[in-house]
C-alpha cells in the first residue's frame, strides 16, 4: 500500500546500489566476526545479529523494499528465528542427555577438544540468527504499513 501511495520514495540510484553491493559482504563478515567473538571479547549474538539484519535493510534501501521482500523468502526469516532457538535449546538439552547440567559445555569435551568454546560460539550464532530474523521481520512489518489486517501486529 505504501509503495503505491508514495511512488517517489524509492529512487533507483546507481551510486547507492553499487555502494551497497560492495559494502554488504563486508558488513555480513563483520557481523559474523562479532558473533564469533562473543565468547571471549565484547560482542556476541545480539550485536552481531543486529548487524547481520542491517545488511537486509541496506539491500532494501538500495533495491526497493518489495523486491527485497520477494528475494528474501519469508521461509528464510522463519527458519532463522526457529532454527536459532532450536540450536540453543538442543545444545543445552544435549548436555543433559550426556549426563550434565543444562548448557554444561564441558560434557562435549569427549567428542571435541575446546568444546566449551565451540559450544558458546554455536549458541551465539543461534542468538545472532534470532536477532537478525526479528530485526528483518520487524522492518518488513513496519514497511508494509498498517493497511493489512491488524491481526499480526505484535509478531516477533
Amino acid at each position: 500500500m505504501s509503495v503505491d501511495d508514495q511512488p517517489g520514495l524509492y529512487v533507483e540510484s546507481t551510486i547507492i546500489m553499487t555502494t551497497v553491493r560492495v559494502v554488504a559482504p563486508f558488513v555480513l563478515t563483520f557481523a559474523l566476526f562479532i558473533m564469533f567473538h562473543g565468547a571471549d571479547s565484547p560482542g556476541g549474538g545480539f550485536q552481531g545479529g543486529v548487524i547481520a539484519g542491517s545488511v537486509v535493510l541496506m539491500l532494501a534501501f538500495a533495491y526497493g523494499i518489495e523486491s527485497t521482500r520477494q528475494w528474501l523468502d519469508v521461509r528464510v526469516v522463519v527458519a532463522l528465528a526457529a532454527g536459532g532457538v532450536l540450536t540453543f535449546a538442543s545444545i543445552g538439552l544435549g548436555t543433559i542427555v550426556l549426563g550434565g547440567q543444562f548448557l554444561q559445555y564441558t560434557e562435549y569435551e569427549v567428542f571435541l577438544s575446546h568444546a566449551s568454546k565451540y559450544g558458546i560460539e554455536l549458541v551465539e550464532l543461534g542468538i545472532g540468527a534470532i536477532v537478525a530474523s526479528v530485526a528483518i521481520g520487524l522492518f518488513f512489518l513496519l514497511a508494509a504499513g498498517f493497511g493489512h489486517v491488524v491481526d499480526e501486529e505484535g509478531e516477533a
Partner: protein, 492 residues
Amino acid sequence: MIEHLPVLLVVLPIVGGTVPLVASLFTDRAGWPVATLTVFVHAVLAGLLGWTVWTEGVVSYAVGGFAAPYGIELVVDGLSASVVVLVGVVALGVLAYARHAGPHSNAFYSQYLLLVTGLTGMTVTGDVFNLYVFLEITGLAAYGLVASGREASSAVAALKYLIIGTVGASLYLLGVGYALAATGTLNMTDLADKLAAVGYDSTLVLTAFGLMVGGLTVKVALFPLHTWQPDAYANAPDSVSAFISALVSTVSAYALARLLFSVFTVEFLEAVPGARWALLTLASVSIVAGSALAVSQNSVQRMLAYSSVSQFGLVIAGFTVATPIAVVGATVHLLGHAVMKGGLFAASGVIERETGATTVGGYAGMAARAPVAAGSFAVLALAMVGVPPAVGFVGKWYIVVGAVEAGVWPVVAVLLASTLLTLAYFARLVERLYFAEPTIREEAAVADGGASVSTGMIAVVVVAAVLAVALTAAVPALEQVLEQTLPPLLNQ
C-alpha cells in the same frame, strides 16, 4: 531427570513456541494444538516439581554446571513451587477458553508460549539479573498479546503498557546495577549475605532497594503506577485478559516477595523502618484508591482491573508486614486472587458473548439469560470480597491477623476497610445481575451478538468458581510447605 525439572520447565515452552511459527508456513490453525500439548506437559512437570519440593524440600539447579554464586542458579522453594503450579494450571485453563474464543493465529500461540516461558523463568530463578531477563520476556510477550486484539484501542493500550512497563523494568535493572556495585554478586542467596555485610544503611543498598522495588511495583500495578493496567486488561481479547490478569501481575508480586525475603531479607525491613513504611503506605494507598476507582467504573472489565490494583495492595501489604502468618496469608491471597480474577475476566467474557452486556448497567437482569456464567461470576465475586469459606476469606484473614500481631494498626484499619470497599463494587454487580430489570432487550442482544460460547469456555469459568472455594482446603498444605522451605523467614 527429576533434578533437571526447573530448567526443563523454562526450555519446554520456548521450544514449543517455535513450532507454531514454523507451522504457519503450512497451516494457519496449528497454534492451538501445539500450545495445548506444550502447556499440558508443562503443567504436569510443574506438578511434579511441586511434589518434589513438597516431599524433599528446596530444589536448586546450577545452569551450565557453574556453581553459584558465579553461575546462574535456579531455586525452587515452597513459594516458587506453588506459583509455578499456578502458572501451569492457569495457562492450561486459558487455552481451554481460547480454543473457541480466539485469537486463532499461530503467532498468538507462539507469544502465548513465550509468556509462559517468561513467567516460569521469573518464578524459578535465583539470580536477580536472570530475573530481569525473564521480566523482559514476560513483558514483551504480554505487550504483543494485548496488541492481538482487533480494535485500534488494543494497539494503543499495548503501546501504553510497553512504555510504562519498559520504564518499570529499566528501574529494576538500574537497581540491580546498584546492588552489583555494592556487593559484586547477582545471586540472591549470596546477595542476602553480602548486603548485610555492606550494611543496610549504605546509600548503595538503599538506592538498590528503592529502584528494584519501585520497578517491580510498576509491573505489579500498585496505585500511582497502575495506569497501564486497566487499559491493557479491558482492551485485550478476553482470553488474554483472563491470562494476564491472572498471572502477569501475580508473578511480578511474587518477584517482589522474593526480593523482600531472599535478597533484602526481613532483617533489612527491620533495620530500615523507612523502607518498610514506604512500601506499606504505597500498598495501603493502593488498596483504598484501587477500590475507590473500581466503584466509580461503569465498564465491568475496567472495574475488575481496578479491583486488581486494590487486591495487589493487599498482597504487598501482607508481604511487607512479614510476620509468618501474614506471609502465608499474602501467598494464599496471591494464588487465590489469580484464580478468582482470571475466572472473573473469563466469566465477563462469556456474559458479553451471551448477552452483549459489558457495563454495570447492562448486567441488570442478565442472570436469567446467562445462568451458569452469572452464577460463577457471583461466586467468584463473593469469594473476592472474602466471604467464608472461599479462599479470599482465608487470605485476607491471615493478612489481618499478621498485621494485628505486628501491631501496624493503620494497616489493619485499611485492610478491614478494603473488605467493605470490595463489597461495595461487587455487591452492586451481583445485585444487578439477579435482582434488577434487564436493560438490554433480548432481540437487540441476539442481533448484535452472534459470538457463540463453547463448552470449554463455560467449563473454565465453572472450574474457577469451584477452585475459588475448594482451594481453602489446600491452605494447610501450603502453610506447611512454606514453613518447611522458608525457615529463615518463618522462624524469626
